[in-house]
Symmetry: C4
Amino acid sequence: MTQDPQARHEVPDVFTPAKLGPVTLRNRTIKAATYEGMSHKSLVTDRLIDFHVQHAAGGVGMTTVAYCAVAPEGRTDRHQILWRPEALPGLRKLTGAVHAEGAAISAQIGHAGPVGNPKANGAPALSPSRHFHKTTLSFTKVATRDDLARIVKNHGDAATMAAEAGFDAVEVHLGHNYLASSFLSPKLNHRDDEYGGSLENRARLALEMVREVRRAVGDRIAIIAKLNMDDGYPGGFWLDEAIVVAQWLEQSEAVDALEMTAGSSLLNPMYLFKGDAPLHEFAGVMPEPLKTGIKLIGSRFLHSYPYRDGYLLEDAKQIRSHVKLPMILLGGITDRQIMDTAMAEGFEFVALGRALLREPDLINRMQADARTRSLCNHNNKCMTKIYGGTRCVLVPQPGARPPAQPPSADATQVVEAAERLEARA
Amino acid sequence: MTQDPQARHEVPDVFTPAKLGPVTLRNRTIKAATYEGMSHKSLVTDRLIDFHVQHAAGGVGMTTVAYCAVAPEGRTDRHQILWRPEALPGLRKLTGAVHAEGAAISAQIGHAGPVGNPKANGAPALSPSRHFHKTTLSFTKVATRDDLARIVKNHGDAATMAAEAGFDAVEVHLGHNYLASSFLSPKLNHRDDEYGGSLENRARLALEMVREVRRAVGDRIAIIAKLNMDDGYPGGFWLDEAIVVAQWLEQSEAVDALEMTAGSSLLNPMYLFKGDAPLHEFAGVMPEPLKTGIKLIGSRFLHSYPYRDGYLLEDAKQIRSHVKLPMILLGGITDRQIMDTAMAEGFEFVALGRALLREPDLINRMQADARTRSLCNHNNKCMTKIYGGTRCVLVPQPGARPPAQPPSADATQVVEAAERLEARA
Amino acid sequence: MTQDPQARHEVPDVFTPAKLGPVTLRNRTIKAATYEGMSHKSLVTDRLIDFHVQHAAGGVGMTTVAYCAVAPEGRTDRHQILWRPEALPGLRKLTGAVHAEGAAISAQIGHAGPVGNPKANGAPALSPSRHFHKTTLSFTKVATRDDLARIVKNHGDAATMAAEAGFDAVEVHLGHNYLASSFLSPKLNHRDDEYGGSLENRARLALEMVREVRRAVGDRIAIIAKLNMDDGYPGGFWLDEAIVVAQWLEQSEAVDALEMTAGSSLLNPMYLFKGDAPLHEFAGVMPEPLKTGIKLIGSRFLHSYPYRDGYLLEDAKQIRSHVKLPMILLGGITDRQIMDTAMAEGFEFVALGRALLREPDLINRMQADARTRSLCNHNNKCMTKIYGGTRCVLVPQPGARPPAQPPSADATQVVEAAERLEARA
Amino acid sequence: MTQDPQARHEVPDVFTPAKLGPVTLRNRTIKAATYEGMSHKSLVTDRLIDFHVQHAAGGVGMTTVAYCAVAPEGRTDRHQILWRPEALPGLRKLTGAVHAEGAAISAQIGHAGPVGNPKANGAPALSPSRHFHKTTLSFTKVATRDDLARIVKNHGDAATMAAEAGFDAVEVHLGHNYLASSFLSPKLNHRDDEYGGSLENRARLALEMVREVRRAVGDRIAIIAKLNMDDGYPGGFWLDEAIVVAQWLEQSEAVDALEMTAGSSLLNPMYLFKGDAPLHEFAGVMPEPLKTGIKLIGSRFLHSYPYRDGYLLEDAKQIRSHVKLPMILLGGITDRQIMDTAMAEGFEFVALGRALLREPDLINRMQADARTRSLCNHNNKCMTKIYGGTRCVLVPQPGARPPAQPPSADATQVVEAAERLEARA
């Protein structure tokens, strides 16, 4: 009921500059976080820099370094970037290289909570309540109030380091049943302390995190909250509560923009990734014990949802109608038409993930020709590449070369060999 | 065959005034009855007044106070408004407040019959023939001819009181397998007296009700009949008979407008509410013994039907082609386009339910900008709120406030606590 | 490959006159045969005359009297019109009444073969090969060559009588697995004489019938062949063979127009009637032993096929491309747009069945307003009325009157009775 | 990422001439290879010549003689054309007759590998790894490296003979799990030599074949590679690898154009042929032991996929975006609109199969009237005719004549016979 019909008549061009908190982006497109799997020993690699430079050169207003953990046990991958002083030199090199291409750069920060990888981390995953994790075949550890206080502070520290490293924004991860999101879920959170029960209590951790981040960085960099609006399973966190949490985030004055997402890395990962569920490929590439876990729970875990352009728009509009915070629309952004729709519906930014993996220069080409459509066909096989460097499987890796000649390296020799064979026969 | 092709060329603007019996509505939109669950001890509450004032202020031509029972055993809910002199002061306050906003107000009157709540009412539900009620886990009582005569008279008394209380219209409930509708259903009515058997007999009660209402109020207020056209189960009342009953209602001269509806609160409640069936939520909120009943018959009871704009239009057109009575189109009215279609197809009014729960000011905004579309996403979770005040779950309740600070109320303190923790570790 | 691209540019208006053999119809719309169930003791009734007069008055170019049997054992219903001298006076009255409304009139002639009703006819149904009939629970009798010669001659006699009775056309029934169509079906015809085996042999009976009809009536009246193009079951007669038979019919010079149809009254009756399968109603109204038969084979017999406008067009175009004979398009003709498409695709006429049952004046109204759409909603309940006078169940029968007053005929008395009751309580 | 947005503005007319390697086609339409089943004892027949002359006369720029085997054990059919000197006279007659109609002519060359017919060939089918063949009920033989060298040379010899016979192009078959394609499939190829394992190894055979063909014919005739992009089963060759192989084919400079196809004659033949799966007809016509094989594995083998215009376009665009080689779009080309789309998306040619079987003059008629649409209804019954001369079952074979008169050849006699019968009765 807060929509202003007047506003409808001033639909901005998605390729014009826009402010995101203290930062001005050259246009309203953002490379969404898609876990790169390109860090090594929790540090930036040249490959990770190349990845983001490529996206920056491709035209987006801002690129996002996907999930960097605020604490060791909050990692989903052994080599994942961890916010420590040791990481800063590499991160500075990364932000500088992106800035040199004219784009801004954001860092996704968070704690994986129950999605954490206990084997890689050498520590159980933290969760609001104890449960058995079917993919890692292990029990989670209930986060104590001390754990939570520490993790909240970790978020502030991480944001401070991000600002020091030259990032223009941090994106606080409050989705996908990572720690903050798992606390929001009535299905996962059965606590009876001040972090469980009422929505107020379940949202407490998320709000503490963003407030601490604001306290740490003030207005030096932009703060984005990435919040679930539908966990994707019965009894999970849903739109009705997400609207209220979005309003609380707005009232907290701790965030500059909201990005709504959906699904659960724990219980329904494909709910976000509409399109094909690459079950066959997943079973092949996952490290143990995930591989065994995936095999055990198979297709019950990897559902397949039909793709359509702007597939999160209808839900995100529910949030849009209740807050005035700038919003970033994610999900199925593939051509100019859906971008224009997003702008007309009052979103300030659009975020693209898989479409930019398929074509990093898509934004530049869309600016040159508004009829350009993404070639992404939603096969989601990119999801299966996160352990070896995320990429679209339809983009041949540089260095694809025709096979070397066969042993009888020259075609003439092949023929002669065949002739000898025939003579013998 | 009674359509006049000429009429097609005079399609009225839905936002112009129109006459409904003796009343002139400021426009052709009506807030459909959606049970409010806001009365207390069968009396009006301030909350109920606020609810209708909000809708009146939102722009509708008329709002409808949902189901007020003409007899104690005809209630579906213990606290439901009952037409008694004691209710009049509150009702007068309600009608006055709505009139002050420039809208008219209608009262839905009826007898729930087999849909009645035996536990709340302390009396068995009345029905044309005895049957076991799977949701209330009890047997119904066969309505005697004396019961029927009394209930017919109750309708007249109720309408008289409604007129006295300042209502502009009454809507006689002949749908959803409430009493009159259960008599119409060949599946529920196996009587062999003059109220069973032929359509003439099965329709007798409905016609007696509206005639008695007309006798009671004459032309002082408008009389609407809300009639089923498809009970939604094999062997139920269907379009073929509904056309004839609609013609009889017209010939009776006892009604000023017809509103066609569908489904059965007894056997197929979701048939009217296209969209998602909120089974999970229903099981959670229903009072006993309904909760147990719902659990027992589960998803066989709550089907899910696909939503589309104007989903009752095709069926209602079948009625439209056989009567000249003004008609109100209900079902999936969400934007200007379907409203214009309704007008072009010869309906005089449109009624909106869930869309106005989602956005009470929708009509005002549609008048300001014809492109406005409803945000209602047909999740039907509003249906699960009827015991605590019906509302759209996507409209945060006033008073949603961010959670209080955690025990260590200040963020600085949180950090210090965390630092202490770290020091200890 | 015989389509003439030039022809595409001369698309006629469906409401202009057109020649059908020796007859000129006032427009290109035809009321398709829909069995009326209105004859009595094989003679015309006033009700049947009223039925066709209503359609003639409604604007069609020609109406069709449905299925009149050429032989007693070829009837599907005890009271069905039989081509005998006794029938002529009634038929003359019928044709005269239709002509008086400006429309032409056609008679469908044929032999039901295996679809014949053995109980009503007091004789087994004739078929190309012996089989057990699941709906009539009886065996068919194999038609001898003498039977066939007699039946061929019966067709000529029937056509002669039709001409004498004032009909403008006869429609020879070569579809729905009636006798000629059952001979065409490789699934039903296992003969090893000159009427079985090759398509040439299986088509022999159909060709003999039309040749005999032509021999009998010459060019006095028009001859239409109604030919199946898809029996609707595996191994049945299909498009590939229908194209060849259509070409043979053309080469025979015995027919003036072709009307393509589909389905089998024996094995898949709903294949023609896209839309809902009214199983519940069928079980209720069919006479024994059909009722028992239907119950035994239930929903395996009554499939449901999705409706779409012009649902036979794609198949009929396959025939259209191989013959130059004028063609009548049947199946899902409900508005001006599909009529225009039919004309553009080279069909000379369109035939409407259920749409005209719903609204006999549809053609007149379409001429007055091209936007008029049929109200027929494909519920197919008309099919269940063939034993008591076929009608659309959504058209109330004339004489629908509101129920008589209840015993206490006056509403005042009802109230008084109720007050007495209350006083007693 | 190699798309040039500029190129979009120069969309060629599909009916203008275009170069294909050294050949200039009169327009950009190609009759795709559809196995004719019209050769006899591996030699050309007049019927085969008539077939291609008909297509040439119908307007295509080039017709394609379907699958001619490079080696005896690489045949799929006993009578299939085999590249031997004995075949040249017939082939020369064929190419001459096509050229006389103004069209070019291509020959599809290849080795069927595991798709080979062991019974007809008197030799086991060759495959990369041993497996049991469910349709032929036999084991394949693993191709030795000597086999491969010989077969590569056979390809060069075949191409040389094709050039000598007057063909304008050869199309090297790298699809449908024929030999080269079976080596590409990770599911079928488990070798551990230099022809198995990595994509480089699995693609080695395909690249050797085309290189040898180029070595043999140089630039005298055009070389087309027909490459799978989706085998149609889990674990098969897919788009990601097809892009790389397409790039290698481009780098090899051995091919002038790429035609992308899909499906496996071995494991999923219907994957290419969207539309109906003619299971009933297949079981009837296949020779043993295929008939028994088909019956054993039934509908698991013959899936049915929905048809849509240009059904391979989305996948082929993925290849289009990574190579600059001219490309031929195959699959669901039925009207001018999809042809224009193909041109706009950067394809140089379109290939039509079933649509031209239905209407060999389709191209001419499309040129005369751009609104012409194919009559092909994707019944795929043409697939069941490959053992007796492939044809559309909806095109009556020339010579379809009406059945001879019945024994009593004259209709008058029929009547008299019938009258005698009646007299007797």
